[in-house]
């Protein structure tokens, strides 16, 4: 049998146990332990990688500035590779071994749902970065989330379509969790939004050509616009094939492509694509009076300076999660999980990259519809669509 000194974490745990026995509360340690399990590798690394970079970057910055009220922040990040079983194991490890005070993480809805029971049982606040509605509906006492739901993205797209009198659409979705979950939400709210989905196609993760699916959409009479739900390289392929087939209809993408990288990959084909996205992507183009401008400009600059990569909405979710927790810790003046939880729930008027957050006992996300902006892609750059018209 493998000896238990095999784990480097053992010593850490032993120290924690000794301190706990001595009756030293975690405040006396002058540090707050924040845990995280993210999909840094694997199919969702497109989301998890910027999330990890963001957390590490900002925890460093907070510590350089003297921590939270003098308490240093210790960050423990594990890579679950997008595998829910691994996420659950790491969640257990964060609770049992690392004894964290709070958790910011969970890249996908699948990994988040796998971790929720662990943190609920251990009574540790958990701020997820994934988009799925089941995370916060029904409300779970210890679970919060920062990312806009895919339902909100659909509502935003459908409202824009209605405004342009485009009511019959075709839907093409990725079969991975993100694309499928948003597709389900779109189908669910279509009728109520006055949108008819005349045709549906899908593509698998890693598919490198979707012209057959798009050919079928092209041949469908009455379709006025095409909506694509998915993330990663799939939407870039869809966009390229869309132009290859010269489909004349407007193309809508989701917030799953909310990164400059999408424009680079789709190149000229991306021109004319419209999508809902957080204000973060157009930080420099927001009008000066926009209340969100300072926070998104600052985050975008910090991220790009540190990583030399373009900012994406997903790193922003991690920023929001971390900062909501940090604010809560300041108010709580404690690293006690229960007090942290109560303060997170009281978050009001927090200005994040995803929008204004107003949490309540019945709303553990706290984002309004205004969180999304409608963007067009023109000449390889984002352009803000005016809210009044199209």
């Amino acid at each position: 049998m493998i000896p238990c000194s095999f784990f480097p974490a053992k010593r850490v745990a032993a120290v924690a146990v000794v301190l706990a026995v001595l009756g030293a509360p975690s405040i006396a340690l002058a540090q707050i332990k924040i845990g995280s399990s993210l999909s840094v590798t694997g199919p969702a690394s497109f989301l998890g990688d910027p999330e990890k970079k963001t957390l590490e970057m900002y925890v460093d910055e907070i510590n350089k500035k003297g921590g939270i009220d003098g308490q240093k922040v210790e960050l423990i990040v594990y890579d679950d590779g997008g595998n829910p079983n691994a996420a659950r194991t790491f969640a257990t490890r964060l609770v049992e071994e690392d004894k964290v005070a709070a958790v910011v993480g969970g890249t996908t809805t699948g990994t988040t749902m796998a971790m929720i029971p662990v943190f609920e049982e251990a009574q540790i606040p958990f701020i997820s970065l994934a988009g799925g509605i089941p995370i916060i509906e029904p409300v779970k006492k210890w679970v919060f989330k920062t990312a806009q739901t895919d339902k909100m993205a659909c509502e935003k797209i459908f409202a824009d379509l209605k405004k342009r009198n485009l009511t019959t659409i075709a839907l093409i979705s990725g079969t991975e969790a993100f694309g499928k979950s948003m597709r389900d939400q779109c189908v669910k709210i279509a009728a109520a939004s006055g949108i008819t989905i005349a045709h549906e196609e899908t593509y698998g993760p890693g598919d490198t050509d979707v012209t057959p699916q798009l050919t079928n959409i092209k041949g469908k009479a009455g379709v006025q616009a095409v909506v694509n739900t998915g993330f990663g390289q799939g939407p870039a392929i869809v966009t390229r094939n869309y132009r290859q087939l010269a489909i004349p209809l407007p193309l809508y993408q989701s917030h799953g492509v909310a990164s400059k990288q999408y424009i680079q990959l789709a190149a000229d084909s991306a021109d004319g694509v419209r999508l809902p996205a957080p204000a973060l992507l157009v930080a420099d183009k927001l009008p000066d009076g926009d209340p969100q401008k300072p926070v998104v400009t600052s985050y975008a600059k910090t991220y790009q300076d540190n990583t030399k990569q373009e900012v994406s909405a997903f790193g922003g979710y991690a920023y929001d999660g971390l900062m909501i927790l940090v604010e809560a810790a300041k108010r709580a003046k404690s690293a006690d999980p229960a007090k942290l939880r109560d303060e997170i729930e009281k978050t009001k008027g927090f200005m994040g990259t995803g929008g204004v957050v107003n949490m309540s006992p019945t709303d553990h996300m706290g984002l309004g519809q205004a969180a999304f902006r409608m963007l067009d892609i023109k000449n390889g750059d984002w352009v803000l669509v005016p809210e009044s018209g199209s």
């Binding site: 990688d49 899908t202 890693g206 050509d209 057959p212 050919t215 079928n216 390289q233």
Partner: protein
């Protein structure tokens, strides 16, 4: 009709990629009886090394050439430091070594490069060629032409050169080849190098269409392996045929049946073919040695 043509274009483009990966499987299998599950990583390396050298300021042809050289060296290293020391081990052990190698290469790529998707500029622009109501990208024709050139060169090499004949002899019977004075270590190592080079060339050619990232290898290995088996393992023509067929199957079932079940349809057809021809389309029937 225009639909069918469009589906065929799509199928041939994707199929050419599978064909090149399957060809890599076949070469290594013939020389060493190893199924190399790191074959997809060569495709990844070819694309990513070119992308990063290009970004570093090298001209595209130089970057591409260096990428092929780099992958070839990795292929040789794989043989020299992982496969050769384990010679004589059973087939499953050797497969595990190549799976370990693919995990290692993927891990190295995410550290050396990054975890994002990348593209390369197409050779002849991205204005589609329209033909009979369907559209195909010039780069797709480049990929198909590249696959054809590689197959012809391989055939000429094996058929027309002495060293090529030595490789063939090693494939047919290693012991007999050694007895007639062929350095089988050299020929097997050479097969790994060529296989890696073909993978890298495939990676460079397809990246403008399919995009690339550190983790594209697994799926390519899976599809390439299936294509090689469909064609009949050990047959180079079979590998190419298997790859193109697999691509066409996926495109046609996505177009005519259901995009959700296109992979399922492709594998059901492969299973059906194997039930009728257990040695694949062009494979030789194996006789168990007692």
């Amino acid at each position: 009709m225009a639909e069918l043509l469009q589906f065929a274009f799509s199928g041939l483009t994707v199929g050419a990629v599978y064909a090149l990966v399957a060809l890599g499987f076949t070469l290594i299998y013939n020389a060493s009886d190893v199924i190399n599950f790191a074959q997809g990583e060569f495709v990844m390396l070819g694309g990513l090394v070119t992308v990063f050298l290009l970004a570093a300021g090298l001209p595209l042809p130089v970057a591409a050439l260096l990428a092929v050289v780099a992958s070839t060296l990795v292929g040789l290293a794989l043989y020299r430091f992982a496969i050769e020391p384990a010679r004589g081990a059973n087939a499953v052990t050797l497969i595990m070594i190549t799976i370990g190698a693919s995990i290692f290469l993927r891990g190295a790529a995410q550290v050396i490069f990054d975890k994002r998707y990348h593209s390369l500029p197409p050779l002849f622009g991205d204005t589609p060629i329209r033909f009979g109501g369907a559209a195909i990208l010039p780069q797709s024709l480049v990929v198909l032409a590249g696959a054809l050139v590689i197959v012809v060169l391989l055939w000429a090499f094996v058929d027309r050169t002495l060293f090529g004949k030595a490789v063939l002899a090693t494939a047919a019977n290693k012991l007999a080849a050694r007895l007639v004075g062929i350095d089988t270590r050299l020929t097997v190592g050479f097969s790994f190098a060529i296989s890696a080079a073909i993978g890298a060339i495939a990676g460079i050619l397809v990246t403008p269409i399919t995009l690339t990232s550190y983790n594209i290898g697994t799926l390519l290995a899976l599809k390439g392996f299936a294509a090689a088996m469909l064609g009949g393992i050990g047959s180079a023509v079979g590998a190419v045929l298997g790859g193109l067929l697999l691509g066409l199957l996926e495109a046609l079932s996505a177009g005519y049946l259901s995009s959700e079940f296109k992979d399922a349809v492709a594998f059901i057809v492969i299973l059906a073919v194997l039930f009728v021809r257990p040695q694949g389309l062009l494979g030789r029937a194996r006789v168990e040695r007692v």
